[in-house]
């Protein structure tokens, strides 16, 4: 596939820095601007942190595969893990006015991406699809 890359990391938080670097470079290659790159890096980091924490439950023998693909219309990221099935309805950010620890990651993901959807056809583990439309299409 043209303009695409895949990185697979162990479900271990120490590899998140590697993932952020790759995400940043792919976003840069796709032509996103500085503010946009920071947003997508943050969102992918938060989504993978959720996979490590909630789906893989810290089991670093599990893996997370992140696929990047971009074209003239959008910057696309697919995050797949081999962890416990996540209930999409259970993932909700907290009310931003309700100041307490936690519940912000989902907001950062939705800020960066126009489409945030779990592929329910995946039988084992989770597949999260993220799509950011180009500025002119947002």
């Amino acid at each position: 596939m043209k303009d695409s890359a895949v990185i697979t990391i162990p479900a271990d938080a120490k590899y998140l820095c590697v993932l952020r670097s790759v995400t940043s470079k792919m976003a840069e290659l796709s032509g996103l601007g500085n503010g946009e790159i920071e947003e997508v890096v943050h969102a992918v980091d938060e989504a993978c942190s959720n996979s490590i924490k909630y789906a893989c439950r810290g089991d670093s023998s599990k893996e997370i595969a992140v696929t990047f693909h971009f074209n003239d219309a959008s910057f696309n990221v697919t995050i797949e893990d081999t962890g416990i099935k996540t209930d999409p309805d259970a993932i909700r950010g907290r009310d931003l006015d309700d100041v307490r620890p936690g519940g912000l990651g989902v907001h950062f993901i939705h800020k960066a991406f126009d489409v945030v959807s779990f592929d329910e056809r995946k039988e084992e583990g989770n597949r999260l699809r993220l799509v950011r439309h180009r500025k002119e299409h947002r």
Binding site: C17, S49, K53, D97, G102
Partner: protein
């Protein structure tokens, strides 16, 4: 992530260096809660050597603030990049935390 701590003009200054993410935020949490456990009256977290913070890092700061509020302690944040400040604004936390422009500002207040 490295964390240094020193007392400056009567205030405990915690300086993390590197990215604050799910991997490193437990160390920052330990540093902050170590101080709040001793009921530190004034704590400054200096972000001048931090280029990235995720929601786990923010949760750590919110937890520290909530603990300090229970005994009247004061938590100040300083040295944030514009990217990190934007995260606080988006999260509506810029009005909850005392955010200072730089270290001299934080020490002078």
């Amino acid at each position: 992530m490295d964390i240094s701590m020193e007392t400056v003009q009567g205030k405990m200054v915690i300086t993390p260096a590197g990215d604050v993410d799910m991997h490193s935020s437990p160390a920052l949490r330990e540093a902050i809660l170590g101080q709040t456990g001793q009921k530190a009256a004034a704590l400054i977290v200096d972000f001048s050597s931090v280029s990235y913070i995720d929601s786990s890092g923010i949760a750590t700061l919110v937890e520290g603030l909530k603990v300090m509020n229970t005994y009247g302690g004061r938590l100040q944040l300083t040295g944030m990049t514009e990217d990190i400040l934007e995260i606080f604004r988006f999260s509506k936390l810029d009005t909850i935390f005392e955010i200072c422009g730089d270290m001299s500002d934080a020490l002078g207040r």
